[in-house]
C-alpha cells in the first residue's frame, strides 16, 4: 500500500517539478521586454479591434503608436478622449481632434418604390449585385443592414422604415459602415463632423422628375432651402441640396421650409429651435433628439 503511495507521489511530483521549472525557465528566457508604454496605450485604446486605423488589432496599433509610426490621434474610433489619453502617455500634447460621425443620406425605406420583390440572401451586398438593387432609385438605402452588422460599436440599428438609425453618442466615426455599404462610394453614408446639426436625407443625382416617381421623400432640387437659409450654408449642387457644415449655424429653417421634408435633424443634436418635427425623422430620432434636449 505504502509503495504505491510513494511511487505515485514520486511520479506526479517529478512531473509537476518538470512542468513548473520548464515554465519558470521559459518565463525567464522568453521574457519579451514589452515596452510598458505599449501596454498602457493598448489599455487606453477602445479594444474593439475595428481596424479603422489600419492595424489588425488594438495591440498592434498600440505598438505602432509607441514606436512613433502612427500619430497619437491614429485611433479614429477613440475620438478625442482616447487621443488625449495617448497624448498624455506619449508626452506631446494631442492636437484638437475633429471627431467624426456617420450620417445617412436617404429617407427612402418604405417610401421608396421597389423594382422587384427580393427573397434571397438578406444582405445589401447581395441584393446590390442583382440589377443594382431592389429599389427603383439607384442610390437609395437597400435596408438589409450590412452596415448595422459591421458596426463594431453597436451604434446602428434598423428602424421601422428599414433605414439605419445612427446613435451619434456611440458612433466613433471609424467609417467601417461607409466601407461596408455597397452604396458607400456614392456616400449614402458619410462621415461628417459630429457637430453637424442637420442632414439632407437624399443623395440622388438623376433628374428630379424621375426621382419623384421612385421615392416620395426625395430632394426635388427646388432650391427653397438655398433661398431661405440665413447663413447661406445650403446650396443645390448637381441637382441635390448639400449642406456646408462650416457655415451652418443649425438654425433649422431649411428643415421647416423643405416641401419634401427630406432635410432633418442629425439625431442627438438640438441647437435647432424647432422641435425636430421633420416628418421623415423617425420616431427614434425624434425621441433621441427630445432626450438630448431634455424636454
Amino acid at each position: 500500500m505504502l509503495l504505491t503511495v510513494l511511487k505515485a507521489i514520486g511520479a506526479l511530483s517529478v512531473l509537476g517539478l518538470a512542468a513548473a521549472s520548464m515554465l519558470a525557465l521559459a518565463a525567464r528566457k522568453f521574457h519579451v521586454d514589452v515596452d510598458p508604454r505599449v501596454e498602457a496605450i493598448a489599455s487606453a485604446l477602445p479594444g474593439a479591434n475595428c481596424g479603422a486605423c489600419g492595424n489588425p488589432s488594438c495591440f498592434s496599433a498600440a505598438e505602432a503608436i509607441a514606436a512613433g509610426r502612427l500619430p497619437v490621434t491614429a485611433c479614429t474610433a477613440g475620438g478625442k478622449s482616447v487621443a488625449q489619453a495617448i497624448g498624455a502617455l506619449m508626452g506631446d500634447d494631442a492636437c484638437d481632434v475633429v471627431a467624426a460621425v456617420s450620417v445617412r443620406h436617404c429617407g427612402g425605406g418604405t417610401n421608396a418604390s421597389r423594382a422587384y420583390e427580393y427573397g434571397g440572401v438578406q444582405s445589401c451586398g447581395a441584393v446590390a449585385k442583382l440589377a443594382g438593387g431592389a429599389l427603383v432609385c439607384a442610390s437609395g438605402c437597400l435596408g438589409y443592414g450590412d452596415c448595422v452588422r459591421a458596426c463594431p460599436f453597436g451604434a446602428m440599428s434598423l428602424d421601422e422604415r428599414g433605414l439605419p438609425v445612427i446613435d451619434s453618442a456611440k458612433c466613433t466615426g471609424c467609417g467601417i459602415c461607409v466601407r461596408e455599404c455597397p452604396r458607400g462610394q456614392i456616400s449614402l453614408l458619410e462621415l461628417v463632423s459630429d457637430a453637424a446639426p442637420v442632414v439632407v436625407r437624399c443623395n440622388a443625382h438623376n433628374k428630379p422628375r424621375d426621382r419623384k416617381s421612385s421615392c416620395s421623400a426625395c430632394c426635388i432640387a427646388c432650391k427653397k432651402c438655398e433661398r431661405e437659409c440665413p447663413a447661406d450654408a445650403i446650396h443645390v449642387i448637381d441637382l441635390l441640396a448639400v449642406v456646408d457644415y462650416e457655415k451652418c449655424t443649425g438654425c433649422g429653417t431649411c428643415v421647416e421650409v423643405c416641401p419634401q421634408d427630406c432635410i432633418d435633424l442629425n439625431a442627438g443634436h438640438l441647437s435647432v429651435t424647432g422641435d425636430g418635427k421633420g416628418k421623415s425623422a423617425t420616431a427614434g430620432e425624434q425621441a433621441l433628439a427630445g432626450a438630448v434636449s431634455g424636454d
Binding site: 512531473l15 517539478l17 515554465l23
Partner: protein
C-alpha cells in the same frame, strides 16, 4: 520575472505531492473493490453461459496466447476452464471481442468438452440502436449458433444466415463464432483431456 523561480515551482510541486498522496490512498481503498466487481461481472457472464459449471479457472498464459494466435482478426480476451463439482473439466468459457458496425462487440461463448455450443451472450456492444442491436433483441439469430454441431467448422458458421439491414453487426457475431471454432480446434480440443 522578479520573484525567484523557486517561489513559483514550490507551490506546484507541493500540490502535486498532496494530490498524488490522496489519490494513491483512495486508489488503494477502491482497488480491491474494483477488482472484485470485475471478477463478479465476469463470473456472472460465464455462469449465464455455462449454467451447470461450478467454478471457473482461468487458463494459463500459453493457452491464452495460442488462442489469440488462432483467433486471428478477433480478439480473445479470456479463456476459462469450467469445472463441475468434483473438478472435472466440464467445458470452456471464451470471451471474444470482434469488430462490429461501430466499435467492439464483446461476446461470451460456452462450449462443452467436445466443442458443442452450450450458450452464448453478447456482453457489450455499441451498435446503432434499433438496427445493429437486433442481433441481441432477435433471439432467432443467436439460437442459430446454438444449433451448431459440436466441433463446428468455419463452413458451418458461414451457412447460417444474417440479419438483413444489420450485415456488419451480424458479421461480428459470425467472426466471433469462426474465432471460437478456430480456438477450439487449435487449442482446446487437445487441452480438454481429464485433468
Amino acid at each position: 520575472m522578479k520573484s525567484s523561480p523557486l517561489r513559483l515551482i514550490i507551490p506546484v510541486v507541493l500540490t502535486c505531492i498532496a494530490a498524488a498522496a490522496s489519490l494513491a490512498a483512495t486508489y488503494t481503498i477502491t482497488e480491491p473493490l474494483i477488482v472484485a466487481q470485475e471478477k463478479a461481472a465476469e463470473e456472472a457472464a460465464l455462469k449465464s453461459v455455462l449454467p451447470d459449471a461450478v467454478t471457473f479457472e482461468a487458463t494459463d498464459a500459453t493457452v491464452l496466447g495460442a488462442a489469440q494466435e488462432a483467433a486471428g482478426e478477433s480478439k480473445v480476451d479470456a479463456v476459462y476452464r469450467a469445472l463441475d463439482a468434483d473438478g472435472q473439466t466440464l467445458g470452456w468459457g471464451l470471451k471474444v471481442g470482434s469488430r462490429g458496425y461501430s466499435g467492439l462487440v464483446k461476446m461470451v461463448w460456452g462450449l462443452d468438452r467436445d466443442g458443442k455450443v452450450l450458450d452464448l451472450t453478447i456482453l457489450s456492444m455499441n451498435e446503432t440502436p434499433g438496427l445493429g442491436t437486433r442481433i441481441k433483441t432477435e433471439p432467432a439469430f443467436l439460437d442459430q449458433y446454438k444449433a451448431l454441431p459440436s466441433a463446428f467448422a468455419e463452413k458451418d458458421v458461414k451457412a447460417l444466415d444474417m440479419i438483413s439491414g444489420a450485415t456488419k453487426s451480424s458479421r461480428s457475431v459470425r467472426d466471433s463464432a469462426v474465432a471460437v471454432s478456430a480456438v477450439f480446434d487449435a487449442v482446446l480440443k487437445t487441452a480438454g483431456e481429464v485433468r
